[in-house]
Each structure stands twice: as C-alpha cells, then as structure tokens.
Symmetry: C2
Subunit: 313 residues, 2 copies
Amino acid sequence: MRFFDQLPPQPTPELGFATSGLNRAALHRESMEWQREALANPASRFIAICKDTPVLQFDGSTFDPLFDRQGAARLGDPVQALFLGLDGNVPWFGLNIPAEQFDDLKARSDLKLIDMRSIAMQGLFQPGVISTIGTAKAMFLWHQRHRFCSNCGAASASASSGWKRICEACKSEHFPRTDPVVIMLAIHGDECLMGRSPAFPEGRYSCLAGFMEPGETIEDAVRREILEETSITTGRVRYLDAQPWPFPSSLMIGCLAEATSRIITIDPAELADARWFSREEVRQILAESHPGGMTAPPRMAIAHHIMQVFAEG
Amino acid sequence: MRFFDQLPPQPTPELGFATSGLNRAALHRESMEWQREALANPASRFIAICKDTPVLQFDGSTFDPLFDRQGAARLGDPVQALFLGLDGNVPWFGLNIPAEQFDDLKARSDLKLIDMRSIAMQGLFQPGVISTIGTAKAMFLWHQRHRFCSNCGAASASASSGWKRICEACKSEHFPRTDPVVIMLAIHGDECLMGRSPAFPEGRYSCLAGFMEPGETIEDAVRREILEETSITTGRVRYLDAQPWPFPSSLMIGCLAEATSRIITIDPAELADARWFSREEVRQILAESHPGGMTAPPRMAIAHHIMQVFAEG
C-alpha cells in the first residue's frame, strides 16, 4: 500500500529496548482474581529488579532473567508485583525486590546483578526480553519516586497490577510517566552537526538531544534544542524512528533537521564542543576508523542509527 | 536536500496549538534578576489563566489575551508567574490567578473567561498566540496537581521561572509532564478504521487513540491500541505529524497503520462502535455531506488532519 512504501524495517535492527514480543494484555490488569491465578501458575515467569538493577540467574556460564515461582520466592518478598503481559499463554511479571536484599543477592553464586545498560550493550538476551526488562526497571523506578500523591501529599498505592497509583485521600489517579526526548542531527549540505557533553568519554561525539516541553510539536522541540545548544537555526524536520530509553523513562524521538545557518556558538552548560562533520567522517566514526580517534554511541542507541541514516544518505 | 524532499508543510495548516512563534529563551529562566526586570518592563505582556480558563480582555467586540502590566495588576495577585518566552524582544509571562477570583473576574464587563477548547475551535487569535495560551494552561494545571513532592510527600515549590518544582525536604527536582498519545487510522485496502467513544456527539467518528506506556516505541503503541480497542492486527506504521494538546498536557502523535485483519471486535469499555470507512465516505464526512450524517472532529484536531491525509491518498 503506497502509504507504507519505502518505510524502513520496523523496529530498526539492533536498536535496544525497541522490540517487544510481549502482549501487554491490559484487559487482565483490573482482575485481581486473574492475577492471583497467574501468580500461582507454575508456568509463569518473573523478572526481578533490585535497586534499579536486574537480577539474573547464573549457572556459571549463561544468564537467565526469567525466574520460575520457586526461584522468585528465594529472592525475598517483593515490594510489589507488576503484570508485564503474556508470552503466548505464559504470564510474565516484574518483581521489585527490596533494596535491603541487594547485598545478600549479590553474595549468591547462582545470581548476578548486572546493570541495565550493560545488559543492553552486550545484547545478553533476545531483544524482546531486554525490552521487557527495561519496562520493568522503568516502571519500578517510577513507583519508587511516586510513593506520595503530588496533588495532596498523602501516601498513594499501586493499583491495576502496577500500571497506576491511586490516592485514597483525594482520589487522584496517577499514571506512569513517559518523557519524550528529541534526538537529532542538523544537516547542512553534506555535513551534520554533532556535539559532545562534558561527561562523554574522550573522542565521543553524538546527536544533540533534549526533553520536550509542554506546548511543543516534535518539530518545534527539535529546532529549539538545536538553537539553544549551538545557536544553529533549522527549518524542516523529518521524523526517523523512536526508541524507549529506560534511564529513567524516556521516549527518544529520532529526527533530522535542515540547518539554515553555519556558525556554531555552544551553550557551555550543555556542551563541551560541537562541530560540523562530513559524511565521510561520520562513516569513519561508525566504522571505528576515524583518524582523529572519534567514536560514536553504541549500536543499540538511536543516536548511532541516526548517524547511520545520514552516512548512508 | 533529499532528506527533506516530499515533506508536507510544517506545521500543518489549521492544526491547533501547533504553531508557536515565541522564542522560549530558556537561558533567562534561571536569572531572578532578569525576571524582575522583565516583570517591571512596561512592554511585557501577560497571559492570565484562572481555574484552568483563559482570561481575555473584551472591549465589546474583540478579545485580547495579552494584558499589559496595569491590566494584569487589576486581576489580583497571581499564585505564580511563568516566563513563557520572547516575542522579538518583548517578554511574555503567564499568570495563574487564584480560583477565588473567578467569580469576580466573570462579573467584569471588560473581561471574558472563555475555555481553551472554544478559543482554539473558533480560532479566536493567531495560531502562535493560541499555542502559547495552551502552554500556559497546561503548565499551571501541572503546577496545581503537583504541589507536593511525589518522592517524599512534602510541599514542593516552583523554580526556574515556573519550569520545574523543587522539594526542599528531599532535594528532588520535578519537571512538567508531557504525555505522548498515539492517534491513528488503521488502513486496509481502500478503507480505514474509525471508532466512536460513548461520549462523542451523535454521528461522530474519529481516529483511535491512547496513551503510550513506558517501554513502547511509537509503532508498538499504535499496534497495541488498535488491537486492544478493535482486535484488528496491524503491521507497518507511518508517522505523519504531532500536535500538542493541552487537555491536560498531551503530545498527540499522528500515524497510519497497515491493517492485517478485517474482523472488528470492539472493547466496549473504550468504544461504542468501530467500523471500516471507504475513502469516499471519509471525503463526504470531511466535506460535511455524509448521507448518514456522520461527522469528523474539528479542523484544529490532528484526527481531522489524519483523515484528510487518508482521504487525499
């Protein structure tokens, strides 16, 4: 169908957190009875997070993020359970393990606690599994940072199998945050604009990025962020692709923007440097053969993918 | 430049809240001194919101949303001021007027309080002005619903000229929410899938829509929402356009999806009906000449625009 001609593959291969095979089966979220049965179902699988860190089973050579009931019970009583969805007919839950258990779990030889970034960077599991671990991590951090009602200050409680919080005092409902972030290359002729934050490893350059604000279109946010960080003006904007990014709970929206100026003035609060890169240089950076030793973000990051789209023209 | 060939005009003409001419000038947000001077500047302009409703000056025939200092002072002491940005060199502020003033303001013959939807529907002001009133409305509602720290329950305070809140007790920073929503047509051959919510006026059909969840790509969210509401399966997804929607603070992300099934089973909790519409029927609906009296959302809504893209092929 012509609306869908010329679309790139979805999801973009290698993009971290972007491929979920799980059916979220939201209709089950409201049924306490269904939940009870599913939690008692011997086939059910559990993803465990402790102090924002995934807990993995380790048999000396391979890692397994999916606990069965018995294995999950040995991690200690969870702060809460989150119904993640169905893998075929198999219910998957997230379990938030109390922070006090962290040292005990770390001491166990049959477990490894590996931070989310490393899991994604190393591609330790199937993309769908990594994406679901990321969802559990993002959701539990949201719960931890939203134990109180922002409307009245009373303690709130998890509801809908972990997908919202309710305040009994003022009856407010609170839903998980998903914070949209624009991430983009400004393009001028055959060159693109990249910058480096003061926190980057040496030689690393990447796309510019920033949180969207209320009242903006995606295209306005792209133009504002590029202007704020480098004083470069831009015109038309093209959406490329999006990536969930569970640090803590962003939606990265990847774009290209048509630059209408050339002279860079960086905002030193945001960037250590920004400059124009030729297509050939970006190709070298992606191939890890840049003569100046410049490097790109990893393949699993949407920044890498945006650079690739530019490099391939 | 070929990356930007064949892009539609940006922003889409007639799309409400999507055109802001204001420079947000975020660099001034941290300077109390700059703010004080700007608030005292006789050229500065003020957008006033009371109980989530824009306050407009009215001279008997025309409306004006931009108060000068004297006019603003006569509205009563604001709960807070929000630095909205610069129109050229002219600072614009939002003022949140206490709810207790509502009846007094409503009684004044030199003012009209008109709800945000009506202002946008009637296109009362230039698009950039409507967009900025929408931003002020969304921001103040966010402040009202976030007076307390979600992390510790203590009262929080506005900071950065209204662009964040800080909790003195636990030192948490809280930023305004922008909630991404996917809104889309599933397309099968020459037909598209539209539904009606129980709350719609009679005969009204529109795109399906729903809030994104943590861990989803835009494309995954589109497929999940269509499946949940109608049981229709979809494949490829194409991004079209986005619209800020200040009710309360959403980012509507407009898409088309390629349907891979035909038989509709609606979720009665979400929809009163859903059905397939031919291109010709959608054209009639948009032209307000549908023989069955079916109608579309207004031109200022992205749903109307998505229907138009489909109708025009």
